[in-house]
Amino acid sequence: MTITEEPLALGSGVTFAQRPLGVLTRPQAQGGWKDWVSTVDHKKIGIMYGVAAMFFFVVGGLEALLIRTQLAFPDQGFISADLYNQIFTMHGVTMVFLFIMPLAAAFANYLIPLQIGARDVAFPRLNALSFWVWLSGAIFLNTSWIVGGGGANCGWFCYSPNSGIVFSPTHGVDFYAVGLLITGIASLVSAVNLIVTCLNMRAPGMDLMRMPVLTWMLLVTQFLLAFALPVITVALLLLLFDRTFDSQFFDPDAGADPLLWQHLFWIFGHPEVYIIILPSFGIISEIIPTFSRKPIFGYTAMVFSGIAIGFMGWGVWAHHMFVSGIGPISVAAFSMATMFIAVPTGVKILNWLTTMWGGKLHFTTAMLFATGTVAMFTIGGLSGVTHSLAPADTQQTDTYYIVAHFHYVIFGGGVLGLFGGAYFWWPKVFGHFLNEKRGKINFWLMLIGFNLTFGPMHVLGLQGMSRRIDTYSAGYGFEFWNLMATIGSYLIAISVVVFFYNVWKSKKEAVDLPPPGPDPWDARSLEWSIPSPTPEHNFDELPQVESFDHWWFQKYDIDDEGKVVRIANTDDVAQDGSATDVHLPSPSYWPLVLAIGLPLIGYGIIFNLWLCVLGGLLTGGAIYAWVLEPVDDPDAGHGHDDHHDEAAELAAVASGAGSDNEGEG
């Protein structure tokens, strides 16, 4: 099954003129920067997501270091209160929207098509659009430091009325609202694209209940995105209207109730937590079986607990508002719902442990990160249970105990898992390993630094240290643990430096090392059946999937006594990537052009409405050009001999393919 090469076929069989207006052609992928800015290849887009996300990880990390430096000692004036408020706001916004979400998107883009046996996502140009729109929104958000009079200063949750024009008169909040609207478009488009990909692009035989756990968790994540983002979009628009046009949705002086913002924000905000955490759950569900030499325990339970978390995640948002003054019955209901979301989460933890039970555990760097994720997430999950006790939460909320909790969840459960994923799939993506020794230094420094930073925050919170305070006074018992946390944060920074050094050095060393081969970890899912790095066309032939862990069963079988016997050498059953007749979607510049128009509209709303016209023309023009450009370039191939084996494709369809790829996005 490949992407069809027919120029957009109309029902009647009439096709568009090959070159509308005589000018629009599809660019050619020939390497170099033009290749990257015009690519629609899910793998290149995944890599760009990863690189950009790591850039913003550094930005958000530097913001974190500034916060921790300010809080190292009591009564410090290292940074002003105003700047501190901007920095902690932008730290949260950056880490959530510009680091973890796009890094998860990197894995989703790169791996979903490979894990389900597809040549690309359902809508390749839309995929490129998602990335460029996200990047333009991310850059836009950060330009508020330069042209907006500073970053947003209202916290990532940006509660009304403090976010209103009266209390936050600089443009920071405008940039927050518009920036998140833009990145929201990216996530929404991407969610639709990946949902369709998972549902329609699966290789023959790849039933839903044969999809790897990672793909499943990513699919649940995309559904959460698709339903959560519209809510925050509404909220952000109302906020923007309030600030720009005095619309008074949230203005208490005009009779509005600012509680509305809290509901809207957290109806998005709580599913967002699972949007952050589920991809990591998926990643470690691939790593732990591989390095235990066992299948994931309780695959069905794993999938359904993920889905259950996805559903229940919609019914717990008001646990962020236990002290807001909502009625006691509401509080009780959300308290109960929050407790019971611990059940499917607990199932996951126990399933990972049972997978390790009786296994042969090989502690590669990826496995260290994965097991570290299990342990650290457990701590975050358990402190989460203590917040679900609504009365206890009235003591804990808005203290450092909460800061400790969600960093154990997001960093311990999310970031550690994503780093594990990086070490695991690095050879598949780049064709060489990340050095294991440096990787282990990276892991231990990060784990120790992480616990030293966020462990003490439990104590600080229980001792009554409020969140979001730019300094604290001596004498409240906060001094020692704040200093420890600051030292820990610098350890994390060092561990990240070790990671980047490892990336650089491992690439240099790779020339002298044997290539990793298609399946260096003796792993289980389809991406390991093809060469490393992944060839541009992914699969020479699409696999005919016969079971869960199909690839593993190409190498091994289980005999009548339940013993595993090798039935084939990896190299004999792996694909060699030599196919040359594969048709691939053509590159396009229009996603990038469209994406450039959006921040211009944003600047227009904030500074001068004429800029909106310019941005609108760019965006609108790009949409027209997108529609009008030919589906294929009539005069050129795509770096391959572009012969398309229609007979084989039809045969594949006839044999019960789970997918039918109709054109491209």
């Binding site: 403090n162 109730d257 309780g298 109960m336 390790m356 342990a375 249970v385 120790i448």
Partner: protein, 406 residues
């Protein structure tokens, strides 16, 4: 091997964490001083214990499995472990046991939650106000402002959210209006009606109860009580802008006799000014301060509608009867019990340096938030300090000492 070391490190860290909780901290959430705070603590403690057990079991399992099942490499090893992919009994247990634990926790939580959110309607106490004995159902209106707290006492009527109306900037006149320190009688459940005049704040005295958000346009019901006389510390916990970190409050609990005495003196108008410097200070107050701050008996007796964003500034009638000022961050009295002329002067001289605010150099059409720098001369400042010192009466030495952070 490494995994195990990792986890023993964790256990050590956990021990350190618990040890850290034992240190002296004025805002400690684990040292309840009231019935409500004890109920919360009694709910949390067993859950923390359960969580601790689960933590040790899970992390212990990771460590133990990591140690026991580790192999150095798969090189040349084609001997696979048993391929257990599922086990129905185990999976039902793995869902059922957490669910049962959560049901137990849920029942405990519901009981405490409903208890804490019920209010004692039969707790009226006699208070003599201006010579007349009234039956006061202890209820205090708590109003957040950027960045200070106001406390309003209504003895003559039973105030409710309805009777107070919805315009927080024009609340009905109260018998006593004070700020920074809320005074309550001990052993009495005191109901609070928590609101705000600008952004959302959160009222929190950890030793006495959890927190409650102060939201403009809404009176959130809450309550506090204290077993014993003393000073209990608090801090605004909902991010409220620039000086969120510098918005503190205290609860001072007094025996009912002391409380009555406090009510008596607060009901008095401000002290008569005598002496040259004090009279000059009073004049300077009328010139510079009376547009925002009320001194009952000097520039009126009704709340002043101040030209600031929240529409209010602290009532200074009994400024020197309070041991903190400037939103609870500065002490009115020195350690030796003398009036803190230095800090009061500093506050009058450069308030924006003492406490970040948005009160000077404002864009057109915006009102100040916080105390503006009035460009007062040193002479005027000195006179004002002399005047403010007379706005007592001076609190007891014990309260002065207890309201200091050690």
């Amino acid at each position: 091997m490494r995994s195990r070391r990792n986890l023993s490190g964790l256990v050590v860290l956990l021990g350190l964490l618990l040890a850290g909780c034992a240190s002296d901290a004025e805002l400690d959430t684990l040292k309840p001083q009231s019935e409500t705070a004890r109920q919360i603590d009694d709910l949390l403690d067993p859950v923390l214990a359960i969580a601790g057990v689960v933590l040790v079991l899970v992390c212990g399992a990771v460590a133990w499995l990591g140690w026991k099942n580790r192999v150095a490499s798969y090189e040349g090893d084609d001997d696979f472990p048993e391929q257990m992919a599922h086990n129905n009994t185990l999976e039902i247990l793995m869902t059922g046991v957490p669910a049962i634990i959560m049901v137990v926790v849920a029942v405990m939580t519901l009981t405490t939650h409903l208890d804490i959110n019920s209010y004692d309607d039969a707790n009226a106490m006699p208070v003599v106000v201006e010579g007349e004995s009234t039956n006061w159902e202890p209820k205090i209106v708590v109003v957040g402002n950027q960045w200070w707290w106001e406390f309003r006492y209504y003895f003559s009527e039973d105030v409710t959210a309805e009777s107070l109306g919805s315009d927080m900037k024009n609340l009905p006149p109260a018998d006593i209006v004070t700020s920074g320190q809320i005074i309550i009688p001990t052993g009495q459940e005191v109901e609070l009606l928590v609101t705000s005049r600008d952004v959302i704040h959160s009222f929190w005295i950890p030793a006495l109860n959890g927190k409650r958000d102060a939201r403009p346009g809404f009176f959130a019901p809450w309550k506090i009580e204290a077993d014993n006389p003393g000073v209990y510390f608090g801090q605004c916990t909902e991010f409220c802008g620039l000086s969120h970190a510098r918005m503190r409050m205290q609860t001072i609990a007094m025996t009912s006799n002391d409380f009555q005495a406090w009510v008596d003196q607060q009901m008095q108008p401000a002290a008569e000014a005598t002496g040259e410097a004090v009279l000059r200070g009073q004049e300077a107050f009328v010139t510079n301060c009376s547009g925002c701050h009320l001194v009952d008996g000097l520039n009126g007796s009704e709340d002043i509608s101040a030209p600031v964003q929240s529409g209010a500034a602290p009532n200074l009638t009994h400024f020197a009867s309070r041991t903190t000022f400037a939103g609870g961050i500065l002490s009115t009295y020195n350690d030796d019990g003398t009036f803190n002329r230095d800090d009061v002067s500093r506050w009058l001289r450069e308030p924006e340096v003492v406490k970040d605010n948005a009160a000077n150099d404002l864009p057109d059409g915006t009102l100040p938030r916080g105390m503006p720098n009035l460009g007062l001369s040193e002479r005027t400042i000195s006179d004002l300090v002399a005047y403010l010192e007379t706005l007592g009466p001076r609190p007891t030495d014990e309260i002065i000492a207890d309201s200091e952070v050690e």
